[in-house]
């Protein structure tokens, strides 16, 4: 199938959009991206899906500006993807091997899902091979690895306690390749498409934070950019999902919103073509782009509260304290001289 060459206007539009979304890029980056994207051939991408729910792919299919079709026809050659490719079985695996052979050292591997390592990795297999095996073979000649979603980035839900499959993130297995994490459950489509386009335009991965997340999309907390932030400053909070505060759109901090400690692009990039994001829909942020978010206590416990059962702790500790205090007082009574005896009067510190 021959696709028409993308119009320069489309490139300009897309590149300017990416440059504005990737706030760390200088203004002149749009022009450089136009030139680089126009001159480059489509980037070979091999997408591996391991222990995942397909939410990350769902997110990608809902990308806008560019949408998935633009991405596939203009920018990348998606040579292998379980869910999206037409081929299946041996034909699909052959496509993957061919992509590796034809693009040695140049292709990008995108991984969604964590990798099970317990019991020899048998909890998830593709074409009879463990995920770890397929990953090692595929990444061997890759130019870069992009871990998409919280499962690939941190282990995610499969790694939640007690982690029965021994799930690990991609970064635990791949240490000798440029690797970037795009966490989120699922990640925002901009972040996936933008990172791919950046690599295509500049031949390297974008600048990252300490958790290997692109700063352009994960440089600020959701709280920093939340449109409900003014209500936080004014001390106006919703106390329930259907109270007056919720109807007025007040801050969701007291309902357990994790926006203040969650680094992501949701509040500005939003979802479904920039229509909304969870907080705008009335639910607090779950912190899904942070590691271990599933095991960090209740989604509905405010950040300033303890994650343990404090009520039982207070009752138990107070009872123990009362017991010790009563014992100490009893001992003191026994040691004290009988009332009326001459001696010290501890009540007022004077001599009797």
């Amino acid at each position: 199938m021959s696709a028409p060459a993308p119009a320069r206007r489309d490139f300009l539009k897309y590149s300017a959009f990416l440059a504005s979304v990737m706030a760390t890029l200088p203004p002149e980056a749009a022009a450089r991206m136009v030139e680089a994207l126009a001159a480059s051939r489509r980037q070979s991408v091999i997408w591996l899906s391991f222990q995942e729910c397909t939410g990350c792919t769902e997110s990608l299919t809902r990308a806008h500006d560019p949408d998935l079709e633009d991405l596939l026809f203009d920018f990348i050659s998606l040579d292998y993807h379980h869910t999206l490719q037409a081929a299946s079985g041996e034909a699909a695996e052959t496509a993957r091997r061919q992509a590796i052979a034809q693009n040695r050292g140049k292709y990008v591997v995108v991984v969604d899902g964590s990798v099970p390592m317990a019991a020899g990795g048998v909890y998830s297999t593709v074409a009879g091979r463990t995920n770890a095996d397929v990953l090692a073979e595929t990444v061997q000649h890759a130019a870069a690895v992009i871990a998409v979603g919280t499962c690939a980035s941190y282990g995610g839900l499969p790694a939640a306690q007690p982690n029965p499959t021994g799930a690990v993130p991609v970064s635990a297995l791949i240490t000798d390749k440029p690797l970037i994490n795009i966490p989120g459950c699922p990640p925002i489509p901009h972040a996936i498409a933008g990172t791919l386009a950046y690599f295509l335009a500049f031949g390297r991965l974008p600048e990252v934070d300490a958790q290997s997340r692109p700063l352009a999309f994960f440089g600020e907390t959701i709280h920093d950019r939340c449109y409900r932030r003014p209500f936080y400053e004014r001390g106006l909070f919703a106390h329930g999902f259907d109270d007056e505060g919720a109807r007025q759109g007040w801050c969701l901090f007291e309902l357990g919103c994790k926006g203040p400690v969650t680094y992501n692009h949701c509040a500005t990039g939003k979802w479904n073509g920039g229509v909304s994001f969870p907080i705008q829909s009335g639910h607090g942020c779950l912190g899904c782009s942070e590691s271990g978010f599933w095991d960090r206590g209740s989604f509905y416990a405010p950040l300033s509260t303890a994650t343990a059962d404090i009520g039982a702790t207070v009752v138990g500790a107070a009872a123990a304290g009362a017991l010790i205090g009563a014992g100490a007082a009893l001992l003191s009574r026994r040691r004290r001289p009988a009332d009326g005896d001459a001696g010290a009067n501890p009540a007022d510190g004077t001599k009797g």
């Binding site: 405010p302 300033s304 994650t307 010790i324 003191s332």
Partner: protein
């Protein structure tokens, strides 16, 4: 486990357990001591014991007239500090939900910026109290490690809370974790040092008030 997870989990739980056990232990140890009945007849016009206690608790919230000049700084600074701290502790929404999680009681929060301002005043007041303590030869001579430790464990949560609110010096989650850990340290020390005066002042003043009013001493 991240620093914030540790602070919100085991650290806070252990600190609250120590604070609750220690506070109840000290209170029980004091209140369960046998009373020493004063067998002397009460002075004519002496207040009943509960009123004498209450009068002493309230009356000692400000100095006698002849001591006003000498204690002016301490009195004013103490009021500024305690009121500021009360606004910070009981006015910020994040603190109110913490209290709610402990005892199920809540109230309307104050605007965050107002609480922030109160926090700055509180910290300035704490600094003034420390400078005064160090500059005055008498208070310096009387000060022990407990005094400086109690000051530090009070000042650090205020400072780290301000830093967390203003995102100053580190990422928010790190600042929040440090703030929670400093609160945990404060809670652990609370029952064992002079910070316990927050609870014991009423009992000590009340006991003095009962004794003095019985003997006809005018407070």
């Amino acid at each position: 486990m991240s620093l914030l997870d540790f602070a919100r989990g085991p650290a806070l739980q252990a600190a609250i357990a120590v604070c609750a056990a220690g506070s109840v232990w000290r209170l029980a140890g004091i209140l369960l001591q046998p009373g020493r009945p004063d067998r002397s007849p009460a002075r004519a016009g002496a207040l009943p014991a509960p009123l004498g206690a209450l009068y002493s608790i309230v009356r000692r919230m400000w100095p006698r007239r002849n001591f006003v000049q000498a204690t002016l700084f301490t009195t004013v600074n103490s009021y500024v500090f305690h009121l500021g701290l009360a606004v910070v502790v009981f006015g910020l929404a994040a603190h109110i939900v913490f209290v709610r999680s402990l005892i199920g009681v809540e109230w309307a929060p104050l605007p965050s910026n107002l609480v922030y301002g109160a926090g700055v005043v509180t910290l300035a007041s704490l600094m003034a109290a420390l400078v005064r303590r160090l500059m005055d030869p008498v208070t310096r001579l009387l000060s022990r490690a407990d005094d400086y430790l109690s000051w530090t464990l009070t000042a650090v949560p205020v400072l780290t809370g301000l830093m967390a609110t203003s995102h100053l010096g580190a990422r928010y989650e790190t600042l929040l974790a440090i703030h929670l850990l400093s609160v945990a340290a404060l809670l652990i020390w609370f029952p064992f040092g002079k910070l316990m005066h927050a609870v014991l002042f009423a009992f000590s003043r009340g006991a003095t008030g009962v004794r003095f009013s019985h003997r006809g001493v005018r407070l």
